[in-house]
């Protein structure tokens, strides 16, 4: 009888050891894959981000490192979210534009996250949708891949169209809506208008922010 317990114990220990061995092997596999891909994944994410920003503000209009020259701000009233990142674009050290991401619009089925570029003259450099939950086939025409609607805002500013016409057509304004969806374009339009107002009243001061490097020298 005395030998039975050790035998059972031995069997359990072997099972545990085998399981442990496979846990180590599995972790090693994941670890190596991570090592092999981490740099490339980071590079991908930077490229995607930069491509998104360049779609709004062409590369040749600025010469600083857009991904480094950033500020994190909180303007929940105007931009719809607690955390917005501001990318400051400069040319020869002079501010030319800022890109805000995300700016949250209220859609038909939840938040629509936008990236907006605003030039230093207060005009919209461009707008793109980052993500949304709008109805496929109806509200998703705000995506630039599905329709050119969002490009209609490029170059607009407060006063162009006039204040009273910053509405969708159904509300007597200047901006198109889509067949079957009015709430989505209305929400996006309002968010853009809000952001332009915010820029006029407060946001433009951020352009005067020194670059990170210069700030360190102080």
């Amino acid at each position: 009888m005395a030998s039975r317990l050790p035998a059972a114990l031995r069997s359990a220990l072997i099972a545990a050891a085998v399981l442990g061995l496979f846990a180590v092997l599995g972790s090693l596999l994941v670890g190596f894959s991570y090592q092999a891909t981490a740099e490339r994944i980071q590079q991908n994410e930077r490229e995607i981000l930069l491509a998104q920003l360049n779609a709004i503000l062409p590369e040749n209009e600025y010469d600083n490192d857009l991904l480094q020259d950033t500020l994190d701000i909180s303007a929940p009233q105007a931009l719809g979210t607690e955390h917005t990142r501001v990318y400051l674009a400069r040319h020869d050290g002079k501010p030319v534009a800022m890109i805000l991401s995300p700016v949250i619009a209220q859609g038909y089925s939840g938040d629509i996250a936008l990236t907006l570029g605003i030039r230093n003259d207060g005009s919209l450099a461009g707008a793109r949708v980052l993500n949304h939950k709008e109805t496929p086939g109806l509200g998703d025409k705000i995506e630039v891949e599905r329709s050119s609607w969002i490009l209609g805002f490029t170059g607009r500013r407060l006063g162009d169209p006039p204040e009273s016409r910053w509405k969708v057509k159904r509300d007597g304004g200047a901006f198109d809506q889509f067949t079957g969806a009015t709430i989505t374009p209305r929400g996006v339009m309002r968010a853009i208008r809000q952001a332009l107002l915010w820029y006029r009243d407060r946001g433009h001061r951020l352009l005067e922010t020194e670059t990170m490097e210069e700030a360190h020298h102080d």
Partner: protein
């Protein structure tokens, strides 16, 4: 040990025991990502890759791992392979990875993978396990791709949109479009479209099987292997 019947393994995987159409396994990703051909194809290939790695390793270690800890070991292996696949996709097919999102890590919950590990790979030699993985994986991929193609064509009027994400820039020209005037049937792209589409595919497979059975029956009346055909009015 009996001779391995590769022909049977292959036919089972691709048709008779097709994981999506017959076993009805892995339906969650199947429903969720088949809104375009390329999405379906990509997730199918990723699943096949994991299935291949999993069957290969499970079959290799089948004599060393005792029964009590078999399942935890399989789960560990599968989870590691899925994570590795996820990282590789994130690195080399970044945009597709973004589109498929949560459904890449969710391959780990695809019952096909643990099912094949347990039911086949842990009882068969390595070459048979690899054949099984390829057949099952490609059978699953074929259904995902077909369903994706149907939904994309009906819902959006395109085929192979986004092919360049998987095959490189040269594949951009492969996209077929029915033109910008094509309105599309929205239902096909929405989740109910996946259920209806899969239902139709299952029905189609059953119809084909029944047709084949009936023909065999007629050709060989004395051979009464098949159950009586259910009459339909």
């Amino acid at each position: 040990m009996t001779e391995v019947d590769y022909r049977k393994i292959t036919l089972d995987g691709l048709w008779h025991n097709n994981q999506a159409l017959v076993a009805l396994l892995g339906l969650c990703p199947l429903m969720a990502v088949t809104n375009s051909t390329i999405n379906g194809l990509t997730l199918g290939l990723a699943t096949t890759a994991v299935l291949l790695l999993s069957n290969l390793s499970v079959s290799t270690i089948r004599h060393w791992v005792r029964a009590e800890i078999r399942l935890p070991v399989f789960v560990l292996l599968i989870a590691s392979f899925v994570t590795a696949t996820e990282l590789v996709m994130n690195a080399w097919f970044h945009e597709l990875y973004k589109i498929l999102g949560i459904f890449v890590p969710l391959i780990v919950t695809n019952c096909t993978i643990i099912g094949r590990a347990e039911a086949f790979a842990s009882r068969n030699p390595v070459p048979a396990a690899i054949t099984d993985a390829l057949a099952m994986g490609l059978g699953f991929t074929a259904v995902l791709t077909l369903l994706g193609a149907l939904r994309e064509l009906i819902g959006q009027g395109t085929l192979l949109s986004g092919a360049h994400l998987l095959f490189g820039e040269a594949a951009r020209a492969w996209e077929f479009s029915a033109g910008n005037d094509f309105q599309g049937l929205l239902l096909a792209i929405l989740p109910p479209g996946a259920f209806i589409g899969l239902g139709l595919l299952v029905a189609l497979k059953n119809m084909i099987d029944k047709g084949v059975d009936m023909r065999a029956h007629r050709a060989e009346p004395s051979h009464c292997r098949t159950p009586p055909v259910i009459s339909h009015s």
